[in-house]
Amino acid sequence: MSNVTLRLAPATLTRGLSRITSPTGRIPRPCIVSKWLQSRNLTVVAAPIQEAIPLRKHLKDEAKRKRAEAKSNGGTKPHAKDSRLKKWELTVGIEIHAELNTACKLFSSASAEGTDGVANTRVASFDAALPGAQPHFQVATLLPALRAAIALDCKVQGKSGWDRKHYFHWDQPNGYQITQYYEPFAKDGVLRLHASDGVPLADLNGAESIEIGIKQIQMEQDTAKTTHHRPSTYHIDYSRAGHPLIEIITLPHVHSPQTAAAVVRKIQMVLRSVDACVTGMELGGLRADVNVSVRERGTEGTGSSYSGVSGLGQRTEIKNLSSFKAVEDAIVAERGRQIDVLEAGGVIEGETRGWTLGATETTRLRGKEGEVDYRYMPDADLPPLVIGQDLVEHLRSTLPELPSETVERVRNLYGLSLKDAKTVFDLDDGDRLEFMEETIESVQRKLGRTDIDQLEIGKLVSNWIIHELGGLLTTTELNWESMNVTPGELADVLVNLHNKHITARVAKQLLSTLIETPASARSSVEQLIDDGKLRLRPLSEEQYQAFAAQIMDDNPEMVVAVREKGQKGKIMWFVGQMVRRGEEGTVEPEKAREVFDKLLVV
């Protein structure tokens, strides 16, 4: 009948995780409980099935893919697949459902957060559909919804309505979902994507960015959480029933699977930056449905049209995609299937299909004859939603920085590379970037000189914060909140490093010490340097030469390798030896390298 959302309910600690399978063989989304347990340093029996891919890894994969693409473009091998894609053009429309970040539910004052792991606790009488219970629109839910609409450049409608979408399902106790079918609260927005967001060059067509039109954004209720227990029993948790969602519907302007995944990713980032939706796709807070159709290039397909875009082929809908990779893979699979059918002379039926992780083809969920008649009608219990223009203007003027603006600002001010800028702004909910900016300002102040290039300092600080600090956090298994290094302390270390009072190696050690010292036993950085006798006592040129000669005498084979076999890389090995054998805080790797270069090349 309707779309069955199968998800895991957060179980209490006393109840074991139930093995979840579904009738259609779909693998459910990652367990929220295991992440909860992990964050509290308790053991986890089953690892999450689907890990959230960290942004940095994703950027690396994207770069790799682009290189491979560039290589294959330069290659002369005609690919059978590429020729098919030359003939057939893909068109994708995306519908995203995102959970709003609110304190209360949409039409009842039950709390929208804080489960405690116990099911069926945040349920009001309207959520449980007790006879006679009335919906009351919770005004505070407008804030994240309006911010989302403004961030996506939509026109907020002064007056919008609430409609009922009728269907029977155990996760919809009222028998209808309250949504905004006839008059959504925001229309006609636009989302801009650049090559750095993951859009393939073919889609950009030489332009700097592409614009994906957003048809409308509407507010609606979420359904209850269902857990399937074999063979046909379902456990239902109504705590989620009635939670506010926004549905973002894009126009069919997307023409490749990578762009579709990029659209979903960008929307998630934008919504998170304005605090509208803070749970991501991997936790089930954002879900996507895609509509896929193909047509021969240069033709009008079957003449179907959607929302003003005409000349499209017959579309099919793929529901409940729960990760960015799933979006991309499902579209690739569906495109392949549709091309196969059309080339064999068949016709595509307008049906609803599903996708499981690791599958090669989409599965049919219901056909046209199973299409549900939702009998939309205006809800008589609710007044129309009238939004004041003053509120919209206030929110627009106080809207936080959008991700693209932040990345640009950080690159312009501090000279970070694109990859670094994108990584740092996303880490720790923006706290890491805040820390970085504070540190840069602190370093500048402590150095006191205005002639130092802010870009140079920015590069130094950002490298340390992303790589060194990040590395230390991973090895000590701390999270950002419990890290107790202050921007001032880090600034002290980096100022000393910049002034060549300490070497980089010593700086790393200092940082590591600072992280591990509890707040009570804290001493200042200067004190630590003095106590540990870490201050750089630079060696003279002769001392370097003597030391270098000693190492070269001890390792004649390596000398031979560099001099006669031309293995220049081994010079760094010599530098490493000198650093290791020298006293702490005496050898500077750069100087050592110079000395070795001179000695070994001769």
């Binding site: 804080g114 029993t233 009238v386 920085e401 970037l433 805040e434």
Partner: protein
């Protein structure tokens, strides 16, 4: 049936003989055809026989139901398939036997006749009424959600950061379950397992 409660002006405008035979022939119960023409007509005649006008009704409530001897009119007969589709949509049980199905079909046919009578009213330019509300300008102003209405929620948010300013709504770590502490939703459950409602989804259920 005599409709003596009909407004006199309306009856004058109609200027149609008010016989019962005409009741079912009346296409439009409340149409307002050619008032000017009628008014001038009666003005010309000057004298209107009110008794005669009011003696015969132009419309009968009986027109809302199909006449017992009427042939099936231009409306198509409902098929059994359509009936079953509607019963499925409404989550009603299918009819037990042919007699019950016949009864359901004839009830539905008279209901549809009623609906067609409603639909025959001319409503061009009339917005459908969704609910009874204060639709005056003042009423709409009172309903507008502007800055003051949201001020409480806005005050509850905090701005994090000095350099990289972000708006964050402080999230409640643990749900204050006391809002609905008085009632336990599970008390309405027919079947439950632990803290969950239970539904048997099998086909035979």
């Amino acid at each position: 049936m005599r409709l003596s409660s009909l407004p006199l002006r309306w009856a004058l405008r109609r200027n149609v003989s008010l016989t019962p035979a005409h009741a079912s022939k009346c296409r439009r119960a409340f149409s307002t055809a050619g008032p000017r023409h009628d008014r001038s007509n009666s003005a010309e005649t000057g004298n209107v026989d009110v008794e005669k006008l009011l003696s015969e009704p132009t419309w009968s409530i009986a027109s809302l139901l199909p006449r017992p001897d009427a042939r099936p009119d231009h409306a198509p007969q409902l098929s059994s398939k359509q009936l079953h589709h509607l019963l499925r949509l409404s989550a009603l049980p299918p009819p037990k036997d042919v007699a019950e199905e016949g009864a359901l079909l004839s009830t539905l046919a008279s209901q549809l006749h009623f609906v067609r009578q409603m639909q025959s009213v001319d409503t061009t330019g009339v917005e459908p009424l969704r609910s009874l509300r204060d639709e005056t300008a003042d009423g709409e102003k009172a309903e507008t959600l502007g800055l003051e209405a949201l001020q409480g929620a806005l005050d509850g948010e905090e701005v994090r950061g000095k350099w990289h300013k972000r708006i964050r709504r402080p999230r409640a770590e643990r749900g204050s379950g006391s809002e609905y502490g008085e009632w336990d939703p599970l008390s309405t459950a027919g079947k439950k397992v632990g803290r969950f409602f239970v539904v048997e989804g099998g086909k035979e259920a």
